[in-house]
Every structure is written in C-alpha cells, then in structure tokens.
C-alpha cells in the first residue's frame, strides 16, 4: 500500500516538475525582459545616471520631484487622456456600426467587405503616420483639396502646424488604425448572440432600434469593458504614431506621455530621470490594471 502511494507521489511530483519546466522558458524570458529591467529602473531612478557623466551618484527622490513638478509631464498626461478617450470612443462607435452593417443578412460579398475592413490594422504604424501626414499636407494633400472641392474648407489647411488640428489628425489616424480590431471583436460578439432573442423581440413588437438597445448593447457591454480597459492602457501609452507623425509637435501640442518619456530620456541621455518616468508610468499602469481586473470580474459575474 505504502509503496504504491510512494510511486504515485513520485509520479505526480515528476509530472509537476516536468510541467513547470515546460513553462519555464516563458517565465525566464518574462523575468529577463520585464521584471529585471523594472527593478533596475527602480534602482536607477534614485540616481543621476547619464552615460556621459563619469560618476553616478544617488540623488534620492529628486528625479521624481523634478518630473512631478514639471508642467510638461502633466501636460503630457492630459494629452494622453484626451487622445485615448477620443480614439477609443470613436473606435467603439465606428466598430459597432461596422459590425452591425457587415453582419446584415442582406449584404452581398460579406467576406470581401469584412476582409477590406481589417485592412487598416495591417498597415504598419510608420506607414499610417506618413500617409496621413501626406494626405493632410498643406500644399499637396489630397484630402485638403477634396474638402475644398466639397466646400468644407475655403483653402487647404496646414493641419500639422496648429496644436489642436495636429491632435485631431493624430486621433483620426489612430481611429482609422484601431477600428478594425474593435470591428472584429464586435462582429464575433454579434454572431454569438442567438437569433431567437431577436425573433422573440420582433414577435413582441419591438423596433429594430429598441432591440439594439435592449439586447445587443447589454450583451456586448462586458466584452467592451474588458477589452476597453486593455485598449485604454495601450492607447494611453502608444508611442509609434505620435512620434513618427509629429514628434510631439508643433511645440508640445501632441506630446503624449510616451513621447514625453522618450524625449526626456533620450534627447539628452538623462536616464536617471527616464527611469523615474518609467516607474511613475508603471504605477499608473497598476491603477489601470486594477480597473481591468475589476471589469473582468464583472464580466465573469454576468455570465455566471
């Protein structure tokens, strides 16, 4: 009896060990790329490290104080919020609309339309930035001339030279880029709603709009919430598009938080400050992550 248990225990232990070992490469990579650098950043944030200085010394919290009292930092945070809320809001609205439209039973060539609708996601961010810049160019931009022809504008506008309009173009580019993801998600969500819900509602005399509000939206809400927080985190910290499109300009008008972080750290090698920014942003991330887990819990509870 004992012997059999012993063998079983050993087998279980061996299997457990094997399981852990299989997962280990993934864990090691994560520790190397996320955990260790974060700890390193934490340490370095208390120094005045610059690669060009001969000696590095500890400076306590002065980096943090410098950043938190820098109006540029708070400006960047605000701009990130504006950028994120606007982009996400529009992405959700358009994504929903597209999903509804391309899910319609009367639509021909559905697969073609759906395929075309995911095109924007395929284009690398660099190209998106450059083509939107070109389309809105004050001298040669096609969209400027189209708008003049239609009558929206009197004459071609220098969109990138004004802080507000530059942000508008940035948001438009990001909405264009991000809507396919929302669209795909909503499409899957829509297809997961049983048809009989709608049929029953029609029998009961509910209009299409009412059906939308009472059936579709509530059932899609959990999905929106969960992936919404995630996309919020990513969009808030999105570096590629603002950097290539405007570099934060004109002036600081499109300097969102990631652009601010990169500029501070790398334009003058102030890596001690850069580390402090990383840690501050990490704390902000933790706040958002808490939101994410709360949202996920709620989604789980709806389905339970």
């Amino acid at each position: 009896m004992e012997r059999r248990t012993g063998t079983l225990d050993r087998k279980i232990d061996r299997m457990s060990l094997q399981g852990m070992l299989l997962y280990l490469p993934a864990v090691i990579v994560i520790c190397l790329i996320i955990v260790y650098p974060l700890l390193y950043a934490l340490f370095m944030s208390f120094t005045n490290y610059r690669p060009t200085l001969r000696e590095t010394s500890m400076v306590g919290f002065s980096n943090y104080i410098k950043i938190l009292s820098d109006s540029s930092f708070w400006g960047a945070m605000l701009r990130s919020l504006v950028f994120t809320f606007s982009s996400l809001g529009l992405q959700i609205v358009f994504g929903l609309a597209l999903a509804q439209l391309f899910n319609h039973p009367d639509l021909k060539f559905r697969n073609l339309f759906r395929g075309l609708a995911i095109m924007p996601w395929l284009i690398p961010t660099v190209s998106v930035a450059l083509i939107f810049k070109w389309m809105f160019n004050d001298l040669y931009g096609i969209l400027n001339y189209l708008m003049v022809d239609i009558g929206i504008l009197d004459s071609p506008k220098a969109w990138m030279s004004n802080g507000t309009t530059a942000m508008v173009i940035l948001i438009i580019a990001n909405v264009w880029r991000g809507t396919p993801l929302m669209f795909t998600m909503f499409l899957a969500g829509l297809q997961g709603i049983p048809r009989d819900y709608y049929e029953a509602a029609t029998v009961d005399g509910a209009s299409a709009w009412k059906q939308y509000i009472k059936i579709t939206l509530p059932l899609l809400t959990p999905v929106i919430m969960v992936s919404g927080v995630l996309r919020f985190i990513w969009t808030f910290n999105f570096y590629d598009l603002p950097w290539v499109m405007t570099g934060g300009g004109p002036g600081e008008a499109t300097q969102t938080t990631p652009v601010y972080a990169y500029r501070t750290a790398f334009s003058a090698y102030r890596l001690g400050e850069g580390s402090a920014i990383s840690i501050i942003l990490f704390i902000v991330l933790l706040g958002f992550a808490a939101l994410y887990f709360a949202a996920r819990k709620r989604q789980g509870s709806i389905y339970n």
């Binding site: 457990s16 399981g19 852990m20 299989l22 997962y23 993934a26 864990v27 994560i30 190397l32 790329i33 996320i34 260790y36 650098p37 390193y40 370095m44 690669p51 597209l98 319609h104 009367d106 021909k108 339309f113 395929g115 995911i118 095109m119 924007p120 996601w121 395929l122 284009i123 690398p124 961010t125 660099v126 190209s127 930035a129 450059l130 083509i131 070109w134 389309m135 096609i142 189209l146 264009w176 809507t179 993801l181 929302m182 795909t184 998600m185 999905v223 992936s227 995630l230 999105f238 570096y239 950097w243 290539v244 990631p258 972080a261 990169y262 750290a265 890596l271 920014i277 991330l285 992550a289």
Partner: protein, 274 residues
Amino acid sequence: MKRKQKAVCINLLAIAVIIPVVFPVYWLVISALQSPESIISIPPSLFPHDFSPYFLKKVFTEMNIGQYLFNSIMLSVVSTFLTLFIACLAAFSYTVYRYKAKEAFSRMILFVHMFPQILIAIPLYMLMSKLHLINSFPGLIICYIAFEMPICVWTMQSYFETIPRELVDAAEIDGLTRLQTLPRIFLPVALPGLAASGIMTFIGIWNNFLLANTLLIDDAKKTLPVIVADFASRESMMQGDVLAASLIVCIPSFLFALFAQRYLVGGLTTGAIK
C-alpha cells in the same frame, strides 16, 4: 421599407462606408507609384494616370532597402519560430499538467500582455547597454518573444483545451509519455492555431517600431519601419522616396491578407477578445 429596397440600401451604405476605410491604402499605393513631377502637382488628382516606378527603383538601388528588408525578414522569422516554440510549451504545460505555480505563471503572461512597451524601453536600453546586448539581434529577439508570447499562448491553449482528456489517457496507456503527446496529438489538431498565432506574431514583429528604434543603433542592422521613419527626416529625401519606402513595409501584411485571410481574422478575434 420593402425588403429589396432595404437590401439595396444596405449594400450602398456598405460601399460608402468602406471607401474611407480603404482610401488611405489606395492613396499610399498610388502615391508611391507616381513620377517625380506628378507627385507634387497642384492640385493633386484623385485618379492620376502618370505612373512610374521611379521612386520604388530609387529606394531599392540608391537607398539599399534590400539590406533592411533582409533584417526585418530574418528578425521576424526567427523571433516568430522561437515565440511559437516557447508558447506551445507553456500552453501545453498549462493545459495538461497540474502544479501549484500554474496560475501564477498564467498571470505573469497576462501581465506581459498588458504591459506597454514604452514603460520598459528605457530600462531595457540601460540594461542591454550594460550587458553589451545593445545593437544586437539576439537582444531584440528576446524582447520580441516576451511581448508576442501571450497571444500565442492563449491561442494554443484554446486549441489544446478542445482535446478531450480521454484521448490523452488512451495515448498514455498505449505507451506514449505525456511529453510525447504534444507533437503526436496536440499539435496536429492545433495547426490552425499555430498558423494564426504565427501570422499575428510575424506581423506584430515586422511592424514593431519602438523596440527596434531604441535597441538598434547601427544603420546596417536596422529594420524597415525604423529606416522608413528615419528616411522621413533625412535631408536628401524626397516625399516620393518616403512614400515608396512606406509602401514596401506594408508588403508582408498585404501578402498575408491575400493568402491567409482566414487566419488573420481568427487571430484578430482571439487577440481582441482576450
């Protein structure tokens, strides 16, 4: 409204809606293929007819885009394979084995998924410099593996979970070790998942800008997106060069869209929902 009228409306609406979605891509392709005179014509025409491969040729010959194309391909392929390998092991471990640390590991994966790259770019730069991994492909590859892993792990997990317990047990009775069930039973079933996550990973790495920009310094090692952004600020570049280079960066995505659409949509769905 009559059913037929409604159908026509819907189709027209769909066309109207898809135009702004597709237009920037159309404009990118068109502009890159213009001749130097027509690209700066005022006012620009919606349907130009003056095409020329001038800029595309120039970008390949004068600006040596071949080198950067090679770098991007090599990095993407190697990183994708390694990511898939590590992800399969992890997904397999999670699905089939039982041990205490399982959930903790899974939460680590979720954490990485949420983690924005900019947060870690600065510390990574410092760390890689210290370890002399800066400006090296291996250093960059490890970063890519870390960030692309979560999607792969979850995709593979969802496929692995569809395999019933009885099948595994039966195989083990037949003499397979548990480990051997991975290549014999799980992977064959999960091939579509491999394809989908492989394509997603490839595109994600191909399009990556931040990490490549931060960690690669030598011109010869840079990837396409980094070079294209660089082009835009080089003093001897014309707008046409920049647009042609931008177009070239899009090629793999276009190819995947043409030939592997099914996997793309599947991959997108998993990524979006999770």
